[in-house]
Amino acid sequence: MKYSNPFSGGRVGLLAGLWAVAALVSSIVAQPTPAVGAAPAVGLNNGAVYVGEAVCIACHAPQNKQFTHTQHANVFRLNPQTEAQRRSCEACHGPGSNHLKDPANPANHGSLVGFTREWGTPVEKQNSMCLSCHQGGPAMFWAGSPHATNQLGCSDCHNPMARFSATGLLKKPSINETCYTCHQQQRAEFAKRSHMPLPEGKITCADCHNPHGSTAKSLMKADSVNELCYQCHTEKRGPFLWEHAPVRDNCLTCHNVHGSNHDKLLNVARPFACQECHGNPGHQTSLYNAGQLVGGGAAVSSRVLGRSCQNCHSQIHGSNHPAGARFQR
C-alpha cells in the first residue's frame, strides 16, 4: 500500500517562502512599531498605575539586593530602551499602586502579577508578561509547544529575582539541574555507564533541546536527529562513499543518547544490537553465547569480544575506502 505524495516539497517550499517574505515586507512597511517591550494590557492589576521601582525597593530591599546582579537589572537600569523596561520591577509585576493599598492581604493578590504558586496569578497571565518582551527569537515556537501545552509557567524554570545560574536566569544553578526537576528519568539515564558529559558539566540539555519550543520532535534544536548529532559529531556527517542505511537515517536506531548500560550509548549490547537488523545467513545470524567468551569453554568468537562486530566492521558509520562496502576499511 502506497501513499501518494500530497504535495511537492519544492512547490510548497517556494510558496511558503514567498508567503513569508511577502508577509514580512508588509509587516515592516505597515507596522513599524515593534511589540517588543510593549506596555502590558490596559487594566492590568485592576487598573493600577505605575509607582516606580523606588517605591518597591522601599519594602523589598532583600529582593533588590539579589535582583541588582541579574541580567534583567542590567537591561532595566543600565540602558532601558522601552517604557516597559524603564519600569523595572513593574515591567514584570505590572503597575503596583493597588498593591500598596493592602500589600499583606492575600485577597489583594490580584493587585500584582506574581510568579509563584502561592501568589496565584494565572500562568497565562504570568507568561504573557514574559512574552511581552521575549516573543520571537528562541521562543518563536513557544505557543503550542509541549511545555506550553502542559501549562508550564516561565517561572517553572526561571527565577529572574536572583542570579542562581551563570546564564539564563534559571531557578537552579545549571541548565541540567533545572531540567532534572521534572525530567527525573533523564537524570537517571545520565547516571548510567555510558553517557554524554552532562554530569561532568561539559554539555547541557539545551545543547540539543530548545525548551522554548521547536518545530522538530522532542524539542530538538535541529531539523532531524542526525542534523542535531552532527553538530558535535561532524566526522559522522559524511556523506560517505559507502553509507550504512540506519546510520544515515537516524542515529537513534542504535544509540540511546541519554545514557545506556552498554558501551557507546548503544540501545542493546553488541552483537545483538547489530543482529536486530542483520539476518543474512552466516555469522550475522549465529547465536553468540557465553560459551564463546574467553574462558567460556567453547571455541572463542571474536564477535563477543571487545567491540564485537566492530572489531572487523570498524567503519560502521560509513567508509570512504573503495573496498569499504562492509565497513572494514
Binding site: 501513499y3 505524495n5 516539497g9 517550499g13 511558503a16 513599524p32 515593534p34 532583600p62 539586593k65 539579589q66 546582579h69 543600565l78 540602558n79 509563584t116 504558586r117 520571537g136 527569537g137 528562541p138 502542559n150 501549562q151 508550564l152 509557567g153 527565577n159 536572583a162 542570579r163 551563570a166 526537576t181 527525573q184 547516571a191 561532568e200 561539559k202 554539555i203 518545530t215 531539523d223 542534523e227 561532524t234 556527517r237 559524511g238 556523506p239 542493546v268 549490547a269 539476518g279 545467513p281 552466516g282 547465536l287 553465547n289 557465553a290 560459551g291 574467553v294 567460556g296 569453554g297 571474536s302 571487545g306 572489531n311 570498524s314 570512504n320 573496498a323 562496502a325 572494514q328 576499511r329
Partner: protein, 902 residues
Amino acid sequence: MAGQPGDRLNMKSNVRTSLCAFAFCLGAVLAPTGLGAPLADSAVGVGTVLGNALNPAPDRTRPLDTEWAVAKHTPSGQLFRLPFAAPDSRQTAGGWEFSGQLEFGYIGGDADEQNARYQMYQDIDHGAYLNNFNLQLRRPKGGYTIELMGGGAGRHDQYYGLQFGRANSWKVKLFFSEIPHVFTDRYRTLWSGVGTGNLILLPGLTPGGAASNATNNAEVAATAAQERMTLGLTRKKSGVRVDLDLTRSWKGYLSYSLEKRKGARPFGVVWGNSGGTAPMEIPEPIDYDTEDLLAGVLHVGGLNAFNLRLSASRFVNKIDTLTLQEPYRIAPPGGVTTVPAAGAFTQGRIDLTPSNDAYNIRAEYTRSMPEFFRGYFTAVVSAGSWRQDDNLIPYTTIPNLTLANVTLLPGGGWDTLGALSRRSTHAAIDTRLVDLTLSLNPTSALNVKGKARFYETDNKTDPFLVVNPNAVYLDADSGTPGNQSRGLTLDGVTGVWGRLINDGSGQNILMGSNSNPAGNLPVKSTPYSGKQQDFGATADYRLNKVSSLNAAVGREINHREHRERDQTWEDKFKLGYANRGLGDSTVRVSYEFDRRRGDAYLTSSYNEYFSSALVPMPITPGANVTSWAVRTNSGFRAIDLADRDQQVINARINTMLRPNLDAGISGQLRKSDFPDSADGRTGQKQRSANVDLNYQPSPRQTIYGYYSYQFGRTSQASIVGGGNLSIGQVTALGVVTPANAADIATAPGGPIFPLASAWTANSTDRNHVMGVGLKQEIGRASLNLDYSYSTGRTRIGYTYTVGGALSANNAAFAGSRFPDMATDFNYLDASLRYPLAERLSARLVYRFQRETIRDWHYQNLDGSPVVLAGGGANAAPTAVMLDGGPHSYQVNWYGIMFQLKL
C-alpha cells in the same frame, strides 16, 4: 591524547598548551578582549555551558542569603531554591562596579587515579589548582558590562569565558572549553606512532609475520605485555559570538567557533579471505578541526516574528589515512597470488573519516492573526547540503597482486588509482524542510492546530562502481574453444567487478569463469535517501482556570529509497491532561498510541547493488543460485522498518507536602510490539519510576533526595542461516526452480533457514539511582554534602534448540545467558567552607568515588591479548584484543581551597 608506551597519561604533555590558552585568556581580559561565555542560545547551536566536573555550575558552595524571604513555589509547585548570598560589589574610581571570586588550592589523596572510567570526561589530578574564578563588572554610566569566568586552569577540562558589551545594545562573547574523553587506560600497543597516520611495529615484531603462527603469537603477546597506555582525545573549542540590537525590532548575531580534537581511540582492523582473519585492535588517530560559522537576524514587530539563519561548517580530518604494519603471516586468498608468494601482506591502509562541509539556510516566520480566531501561522523553510569530495585511495598498498582469470591492462594494478572507477568521492546530500502550522482559538477555551511538515535528505552521490576498468577476465568458457578476454558491463562501465578487500588479503571479485559466475558481491554503493512527511492536528481544551485536556492525531510517512520497504507510515494518537490546581498538587498525564505500518517488505531490495545485477541467475538444473536467491529470511524485519504498535503512558505529579517540603513523582510505561516481525526485534518494554523530595526548613538548611528505577527489556529473534540452494534441489517447500528460488531461499523453515535453528534473546536492563544532599549553615561555616549511588544490571538470556542454533557440544557451554553486565557507582562530595577574613574563606573538600564494572565483552581479555579459538598455539588468533577494557576503581581525595573575594 594518545599516551605513548610508558606514559601514564600523556594529556599532561599538553599542559603547556593549556597554560598558554589560559595566559591568552588573562591577557585578553586586560586587552580587553579574549575568551568568554558560552556560544549557543536555547535555539541555535551547541555550547550552552562553561564548567567542568569540579564546577558543574557556578559556585554552589557559597552561603545562602539568610535575608531572603521564605521560599516560595513555582507555578507547578516546586520549591524555588533559596538564593546564594549576594556578592559584595565594590566600585573603582572610574565608576565601574565589580564583584568576583577566585578559588585556588591543593588536591591530594587519590586524585591522580588514571583509570579511564574515572578520567572519562574530567581531568582531576594531584597538585595546585586554580579551580574557578569569576568577575563581573558594570559601569552604570553608559550601561557597559564585562563578565569573566573560568576554571580548571591548565587541566584538560578547563574553561574560560568572557562577555562584554552594552546592556540592551550589543555584546560580545568569547569562550574556550576543553573536554577530555578517555576511552581506555589498558591499551597495549604493538606499534609506535600512536596518534599518527603511520603505525610501525615495535621491535621484536615482523611486518608480515613469520611462517609460524606460534612464533607470531608469542611475539605479539610479549610485545603487548610490555606497556599499557591510555587512549583518549581532547576537544578544545573556542569561539566568538557577537549579538547586536540593530533596531528595536531587529537583532543580529554572528558567531564563529573552532574545535580541535586530537588523540587516539581503540579501533579495529581485520585481514584475510572473506574478511574474518585475525581482527586486531589498533589505535585510530584523531586529529580533527571543525569550524562553524553562524549568522542570523531576528525580527519581532507588530504581528510578525522572523528568524533567518545561515550556517556553514567545515570538518577537516588532518590524518586522511592510517597505514599500519601487521605482525601476522596472512595467506593470500584463493585465486590471489603475491610477490613474494608468502609474507607479502606486510601492511594495510584504512581510509579514515573524510573531511566534509555542510551548509544550511533556515527561515522561520510567525504571524499572529488576532482578528482571525486569535490565531497564528508559522512557516519554517530550511535547505542544506552536506558535501564530501575526498580523494580515493587504491584498493591496496601491496604491489604485484594478481588474480586468477584476470588480466590487468596497463595502469590497472590493484595498488594504483587506475583500478578505481573514479578518483574522488564526489558525494553530496541535500536536505530540505518545510514546516507549516496554523493555530486557531475558536472559543476562549479551545485551541486547535494543524501542522504539515516535509523533510528530505536527497543523496545526490552517484553510486560508486566497484570495478577495475583497466582489467579484463581471462575467460575459461568451456563452451568456447580457447581463452577469450572480456569484461562485464554494468551502468556503462566494463571491467572486472568486485572489491579487493582488506588490502588484498581477501578478495570479493567475480573471477570470470562462465562455468561458475557466482558471487554475492557488492558492486555498487547505495545512495540512501529519505523523505518524511508529517501531518497532524492538536486540540487543547481548557476545562477551567487550572486544568486542560489535550489531544493530538498525526501521521508520519517515511519514504526511504533503496531499503527493504519503500514506505512506512505511522499513525499517532495522544491524549493528555494537565491540572495545576489539584489541591496542592500539579498533575500531568498523557497516553500515546502509535501504529506503524508499511508497504511490502522486500528482502531483495539490494539486488541491484550486488553482483547478481551483473550476471543473470543460472537456470540450468544443478546450478548453484545461492548468490541470487538467498537474502534475509522473509520473516525478518529491520527495526526501523518493522510494523510497530507502541503505547506510552507518562505521569508526573508535583505536590507541596508542606510549605517547605515538596515532592515530585513521575513514571513512564512504554511498550512496543512488532506484530509482523517473526525475527529481528520482536518486542520492547520500558518502565521507570522516580521520586524527588526537597526540604528547605530555613535559609540555613536545605535537604534533597531522589530515587529512580528503570527497567527495559528488548526481545529479538533470528534463525541461523546457511547452506546452498541449487536449481532442481528438492526441499520441504518444493523443488527449486528459477521462479521460486528466492521464495524458498528466504522462507523460515526452508533449507537455508530451518526452524530448528531459530533462537531468541532478551536483553533486560535494570537500574536504580538514588541521591541525597544537604546544605547546612553551621555558625559561620557552610557544609555541602552530595551523595549518589547508581547501579545498573543487564542480563542477556537466550533460547534455542540444541542441535539447531547450537550444537549439543556448544550448548553445554552456552547455557541460557551471558554473565550479567554490571556497573555500580558511588559518589560522595563533601565541602566545608569557613570564612577566615572578610574577603577570604577556606574550603575543605573531600571526594569519594568508587565504580565497579563488569562487562563480559572484556572477560579475561586483560591477561592475554592473543585470543586463540581453540586451534592450538600454531593457529592464527581469532582476535588480538589489545584493549583490556573498563575496570573498577576507588578513589579518596581531599584538598583545601581558598576563596578570595575580589
